[in-house]
């Protein structure tokens, strides 16, 4: 009984962390889909979401004297739009001019943007750990069977993530623009022959990916309580791994990979030891990749030559 309760608790925690990984992994995977580029700056856009959230809450506190409750909504919207705009600008300035320059130059450019975003955050906000104002993170929760608990914050995280991911999935599968995104991921030239403005589709991807990443950054900061400018690097790398695990370029894959990574890590930390969780998690990752080099959902239909 004890064992089951503990397992349920670990799974709840794992899925919560997995939801973060999934949200961030989507940004890597969508950009990889349309550009075949690993956007290493994505993790730092996510990190900026955490900092912009901090600024937003502080401004809200100063202006209306409170930062919790519904004031979170305009903060989230402004933050999402800001990070999305940064994403679009980065693509326009740092990636598009290099689009016909082979595979290496854009990756280096992405790393450059990553360092710039990271240094900017450190210079603007300082190198110390930051915490959100007290009273914002919701407290309380629900008791499940026995000692297992799901906190209010976890419920918010899960509902928000699943709503966002569900909406994205429907958008990509059901709408004209979403279908065009999948077409562009397969073949730029043929997409252009359909009358698709490929640059516009890529810009939309750079709106959605960083937009979701920015929101994830804020939620992660709320969930953990504190963060610093290396958040994007550590968390971003894990999310990138989640994207690879699910099959990079594949949107449901990113969601699945994130969840799996979160759960494996949490179970490893809970049942073995926190020091060994990364060893376990990444050993499993390597084993999965050996058997499925394209990731779990990658390239289910063979590409024709």
């Amino acid at each position: 009984m004890q064992f089951i309760q503990q397992l349920i608790q670990q799974l709840i925690n794992g899925i919560t962390i997995g939801a973060f990984y999934s949200l961030v992994a989507l940004g890597y995977t969508m950009v990889y889909g349309v550009l075949k580029l690993i956007n290493f700056a994505h993790g730092d856009m996510f990190m900026w979401g955490a900092y912009l959230g901090l600024t937003g809450f502080n401004v809200a506190l100063a202006m209306v004297g409170q930062a919790g409750g519904w004031s979170i909504l305009p903060i989230v919207i402004i933050l999402m739009l800001t990070v999305a705009l940064v994403g679009v600008l980065v693509e326009r300035i740092a990636y598009r001019p290099l689009r016909s320059a082979g595979r290496l130059a854009p990756v280096i450019s992405a790393l450059g943007v990553a360092f710039i975003l990271q240094s900017l955050a450190r210079n603007v906000y300082g190198a110390s750990y930051k915490t959100y104002p007290t009273g914002i993170t919701p407290t309380g929760g629900l008791s499940l069977a026995g000692s297992a608990r799901v906190s209010t914050m976890q419920i918010i995280v899960l509902i928000t993530s699943f709503l966002l991911m569900g909406a994205l999935y429907l958008f990509v599968q059901r709408t004209r623009i979403g279908t065009a995104m999948r077409a562009v991921s397969l073949d730029h030239d043929t997409s252009r022959l359909m009358g698709i403005d490929v640059n516009r589709i890529i810009a939309i991807v750079f709106l959605i990916g960083p937009g979701l990443g920015g929101v994830a950054g804020m939620i992660v900061a709320l969930y953990y309580g504190s963060f610093d400018f290396t958040l994007g690097w550590s968390y971003g790398l894990k999310a990138f791994i989640a994207a690879i695990l699910g099959g990079i370029g594949n949107i449901p894959g990113a969601m699945l990979g994130g969840m799996l990574l979160g759960i494996i890590e949490t179970l490893g930390a809970g049942y073995l030891s926190p020091q060994w969780k990364d060893v376990i998690a990444y050993a499993i990752l390597i084993i999965i990749l050996i058997f499925r080099p394209t990731g779990l959902l990658g390239e289910r239909v063979a590409e024709k030559v």
Binding site: R182, A183, R192, L193, M194, I196, D197
Partner: protein
Amino acid sequence: MTLLKIENLHTYYGHIQALKGIHLEVEEGEIVTLIGANGAGKTTTLRTISGLIRPRDGQILLDGQQIHTLPAHRIVEAGIAHAPEGRQIFSTLTVTENLNMGAYTLAADKAAIEENRQRVFDLFPRLEERKNQLGGTLSGGEQQMLTIGRALMARPKLVLLDEPSLGLAPMLVKAIFDTIQEINARGVTVLLVEQNARAALKVAHRGYVLETGRVVLSGAANELLRDERVRKAYLGEQ
């Protein structure tokens, strides 16, 4: 009336010159074929018309308007659809989604898209049977039907077909050429690139012969069929 007019077209791949001053005209309502050996520049001509490659010199006019300066997606809007060489269908999109992408420029006009899809299904009943199947799982012939059908989805004035018969069984080759005539009879002008010169010249009104980036011969299709040089070089006769 001249629908497409190409003047002195020069196209390069880096330093390699693929087109060395092409002149070509397509009248409204015609089937015009472009024949030539491997590497003559047929595909390059079509890719330059549809804006995938920019010409270095010369011009392309559609209905008297310059189009060679427009981005590819605007050329589709202007009324040219291109069914590319090698059946470039979207392998992980369904047949219906592939067709919908062909009608991308019609945006929200659901009724028109529906109507055009029905026309394509009339032309290729096979596609309707397979409409929910992924493009990559179709047979070669079905993929070719999809490539052509997709190009017709936007109701183009002019459709560019690049080797629609390549790799198909003889029965299917005949069906494809019949379909091309049918498409033309429904009012679409066709610029047809083919290795199968005999079949192409039989359905076409006029033809151009391309050799290493230049037009070396042009005229009415039935005259080209009788031409000594064409018979020797492209129809395999002694």
